[in-house]
Symmetry: C2
Subunit: 238 residues, 2 copies
């Protein structure tokens, strides 16, 4: 099923940018009068009829708006340290989108192998993954920030989990147990780099209300841990 | 942590083949007397002292045998239709190994995009993934076979699940519900191609005791569905 993304969607009309238009008109050869499916990236799908196919930007007239298309019944933020290998982080982002995630935050920790991260490619991958999985909401990507800053800014009332490999002062719950406390709350999971979080990072997180968790007995790569967290929430709500 | 694979391991001595030896001696520069960690691929880890470092094949003297190293408390077979893109299937196999799987079977279905599959690369990826996740058991890979043959050969008493996207004559359980029946039994999950299983394949599976399941409300690519099934079992036992 072909899905198009509209940068400017309203209940009457959806506009496609040059790239989406090129794909729609030149590649897929749609003509005025064709039915097209359009998402606004924020959760609503619009069934449309193509009215203007000029390559500067197609115009689609809305026939029906479908809110919450492909939505999941929770809000999940995954704050994950970028992996040394970009492919791996991009795989995680694509798969997390298929399963269900609302926001991805690249966080830089003390033990991070990567200290910088460019989000452009990731945004394109998330758009493509959202279309492919028939979801009208594209996960947001935040600009990279330090783990300590992420911890400080985290909302008070969210269920905040920090996945770490070692047992600190506060014994870890399994992510499954910790999610029993999630009803109605936004869920945030913080996933560290291959070298794990430092004890100071965990202490700071706990002081801000983060719950230390483990992700079971398997030793998981960063990107696998991040996806496992997404799957844990998915199953909790299954 | 460096792990070496022994093709011939016993409680007294472990032999490394030329490739493992080259990596151990030439690349990592181990010398006789060094401690090395060796897996036999079948579940046991051996702490050894390197005694012979000749490049035709190193010899390691066992100090301690650790059975069930990195083991998981269930037996899981994932029978998954190969994806059009090999990377995706290899990605699934690597991640399924990290999380926990015992056997991967490439199955060819009516709607499969790929009708053949070469298992060599996959075996290398599984060995590497097992070492990286500190597991002494390397998942087995079976040679490709047709979905109908796989269904016919499936063991009677295993919990057998077939993941399909449509509602057939037998209403689907969620994979989470279906796993409640798993205690003590081998678990087999059959995952179809992007075009799903045909109604005839599902009917044949049900006749052989397969339980039709869905993997939640998200629309998942084949490789994501397969990993989601592995995660479902992992969480069931968490």
């Amino acid at each position: 099923m072909e899905i198009f993304y509209s940068y400017d969607a309203s209940p009457q009309v959806c506009l496609l940018d040059q790239e989406e238009t090129r794909h729609c008109v030149k590649v897929l050869r749609h003509r005025p009068g064709d039915g097209v499916t359009v998402i606004d990236g924020r959760g609503t799908m619009y069934r449309c009829i193509l009215s203007d196919t000029s390559l500067s930007g197609a115009v689609c007239n809305v026939v029906e708006a479908v809110p919450g298309w492909g939505a999941h019944p929770y809000r999940l933020t995954l704050a994950v340290c970028p992996t040394k290998n970009n492919d791996r982080y991009e795989w995680f982002a694509e798969k997390a989108t298929e399963v269900g995630v609302d926001e991805i935050v690249p966080v830089i920790g003390e033990h991070s192998e990567r200290k910088v991260y460019k989000t452009d490619r990731l945004r394109r991958i998330l758009l493509s993954a959202a279309k492919q999985s028939l979801k009208a909401a594209i996960p947001q990507v935040r600009e990279p920030l330090g783990v300590r800053d992420f911890i400080e800014d985290a909302p008070e009332d969210a269920l905040k989990l920090i996945a770490c490999c070692f047992e600190g002062e506060v014994p870890r719950l399994s992510v499954k147990e910790a999610l029993e406390d999630s009803a109605g709350r936004e869920i945030i999971v913080l996933i560290g780099p291959e070298g794990d979080f430092s004890p100071e990072e965990v202490t700071a997180a706990v002081a801000r209300g983060f719950v230390p968790v483990h992700l079971g007995s398997s030793r998981l790569r960063t990107e696998t841990a991040a996806l496992t967290a997404a799957e844990a929430v998915y199953f909790h709500y299954m």
